[in-house]
């Protein structure tokens, strides 16, 4: 029994008939072919699938596509605007916040949610915010620094505007 969903993903509107059991992550990856959102586990633990649904960080492996009906979704592909990288995307490059890159989209999307709530996070609050995102490569230190870099950069651009 398929159900129609209407969603806005990275600013574009989509309408599809989907099976209720289709997970949102599979809708994004297989139907919309937005493959930047990854699947790293089956217990909602690793955070590789983190996206924003209505502005909130979400593990989309634990959401049915039908639950997202009417929602506004941002994935890693939609984070940068007009070809300009988001400060987090820049920060991860500047501070070597990634190695294999697999956890990176989820990590960045989670960090983006954090910076919305807490523009000047401490090291401790960054580490706490990222507790639901596993990285096996970096040991997290440079990820923390990448988020600090982005926070600093966002603060400076605020000051300019």
């Amino acid at each position: 029994m398929s159900t129609r969903i209407n969603v806005t993903v990275n600013g574009l509107q989509y309408s599809h008939m989907v099976e209720p059991r289709l997970l949102l992550v599979n809708y994004l990856r297989d139907v919309l072919r937005l493959t930047g959102t990854h699947v790293g586990c089956d217990t909602s633990s690793c955070g590789a699938c983190t996206i924003h649904v209505n502005g909130k960080a979400t593990k989309c492996c634990t959401l049915l596509a039908v639950q997202a009906d009417g929602c506004e979704i941002t994935t890693i592909e939609g984070l940068s605007h007009n070809g300009e990288l988001h400060p987090l995307q820049e920060g991860f490059n500047e501070c070597h916040g990634l190695q294999c890159g697999f956890c990176t989209p989820g990590m960045i999307m989670m960090a983006a949610d954090l910076l919305q709530h807490n523009p000047q996070p401490t090291e401790e609050s960054i580490r706490h915010a990222l507790e639901g995102n596993f990285c096996r490569c970096t040991g997290y230190q440079n990820i923390v620094k990448s988020v600090q870099y982005a926070a600093e950069k966002m603060k400076m651009s605020e000051a300019v505007h």
Binding site: G101, G139, Y140
Partner: protein, 793 residues
Amino acid sequence: MSTNGLIGRSVKRVEDKRFTTGHGNYTDDIILPQQTYAVFVRSQYAHARIVRVDTSVARAMPGVIAIFTGADLANVNGVPCGWQVNFKNGDTMKEPKHPLLVADKARHVGDAIAIVIAESKDQATDAAEAVEVELEELPCVVDAYKAVQPGAALVHDDVPNNKSFDWALGNPLEEVKEAMDKATHVTTLEFVNQRLVPNAIEPRSYNSSYDPVSEKYTLYTSSQNPHLIRLLMCAFVLGIPEHKVRVVSPDVGGGFGSKIFHYTEEALLTWCSKQLNRPVKWTSERSESFLLDAHGRDHVTKAEMGFDEEGKIVALRVKTYANLGAYLSTFSSCIPTYLHGTLLQGLYTTPKINVDVTAVFTNTTPVDAYRGAGRPEATYLLERLIDLAALEMDVDPADLRFRNFIPPFDGVQQPGYQTQVALQYDSGNYEGVLKKGLEMVNYPEVRRAQQEAAHNGKLVGIGFSTYIEACGIAPSAVVGSLGCRAGLFEVGQVRVQPTGKVSVYTGSHSHGQGHETTFAQIVADKLGINLTDVEVVHGDSDSVAFGMGTYGSRSLAVGGSAIMKSIEKIIEKGKKIAAHKLEASADDIEFASGKFTVKGTDRSIGFGEIALTAYVPHVYPKDLEPGLDFSSFYDPANFTYPFGCHIAVVEVDKETGKVSLKRFVAVDDVGNVINPMIVEGQIHGGVVQGIGQALFEGAEYDENGQLTNGSYMDYCMPRADDLPMFETASQVTPCPHNPLGVKGAGEAGTIGSAPAIVNAVIDALWSGGHKVKDIRMPLTSERVWRAMNELIS
């Protein structure tokens, strides 16, 4: 040689943009036209006879294309082991078939019984559930020591005592015993180096297709070494011509060893794609990864270290039972032997060493290389022993090390150091890293704080680990004599395009290590061109001539050196072209900063113009071929031997046993450094995997062979909020035998860190009067609490 200063700089990674914007291309991202999807039916039991497999219901379900069982593959070989180790008596190791699908019996939980292929993954999953499997559960063995005892169940009916092989190395046992008898103090430790699950965050994924017109296969695989997979799959498993197979490892989401091996699914999907004439894709679920990705470690060891009255080590004796799991994985046999026994000299002048290893089959997931592979086990053993000996003898652990270090040697003026266990170290300054570590941690202050804490009823401890490893895994002649069934060289091709832009083709796959940046730095630096003018290509057997892959911290030392050889050839040929154009002798041409110059003159010609001339050879020497493109195979003279000093400071909560890691200092000497930022990143990641082993991780099997913590809900992965900021520094003792002077940094962190943490916890407990010798890793709060309370009462 020319340099523009790129080598040694923390150049930002060129590969990052695709990953930070969601444009990485991992195997599971690929959907081919006519794609089909595979799901496996797997054994729930660790050991079971397959009584009946009924696929009739499943076959009739919607979307199902095919179902294959072990019976369909009776004539297909199993996946091979790449390294032969012989018994002490000379017999060849026992190497039972590792079939692509089991037909007779399942030997570990997760062993594949059937593959279901359907139009969609949903349909394949539904149908796999409908395959009826009747199994007769058999008694099983899980523990390596128990498996060799009389009466234990047999994993393979034709392998007596479950012994794949036994093996020994070092001085004759009698000599070691004699030296041990003379020791004034002997520290003995019986311990388990527990089994770890590698847990690269990208689950393994394969997508294989077959083109009936060209009769060519293409396999996309999340592998660390596509060429080796092609070689093993073609030559050993499927018997298909190698030139008819293209193996591509696109972006790979971490490996840590677990993606080196040739897995059954790779060959099986390739086989299926031809049966169906359609591409077949399978991506491991995490719960499958726990059961199938080759695990690491799993040694049961007894070790004794003898000291004389001055605290000099006089003898070391080691007996290890190594658990290989149910089948021999690709490199499993060399891990507990040539990558473990050979490292037991450590940094010390121990004159007599004997190591004895029994390698054992059990009804568990196969065990193979996991970051460090054998060397963490060796380091853990040595570094636990020496720290414990210091506690027992009431000597300072740093001081005890200084008394035993091999003196500094550069491998050029002074010769390499010949160990008692077959290796010759290349160059080292071992006391240097410990001195630096002590300074960084401010040792006297930590000891003072420890005493003060003890006075206030708190437990603070400091632990050391001074490690060495053998990496840059190569010399084909050496590994060949040790039983490796492949060569271990590397290939590097440098193709200068007519416009002076450069494409580099390397057999060293990159899956997080940043080769696209580091290798480009080398080429740009040596050729005096811009970094953006260099592109590094890897991971595709159709593009790259050959390769042996990335593992054992070998990429830069071996792969980088192969590229260096090709750069030298480019420059040499460039000089000949320049000589012709500048009407001088090639011997008189110097190359520096991207320019070919006639010595002592200002007559010069740029690299770009030489490149153009090579491809537009209108004015060109007769005896020179056009083009500027060289490929080199590099086979080094020796392993490389990075070393370092890791120091941990911990606090143990007396009431709960919870360990808090307060500080972690790492001084690593990985030889010359091309990109310090990347090296530091490798150290961070490595250290956390060692911390993971010490404090968080460990596969737990019950006696029935069930993995009882087969998900992230129970298997504890280190997280951001579990860790402090690390304090790192480097020392540089160049490798004398490769052109870059590099040693390798991929595994150092993991090898060094775990014993430092455990030593620190033991030290903390001793400071509170709990004279505990060992706590089994991972040091969960309950284990530490028990250690404190069972000895105190």
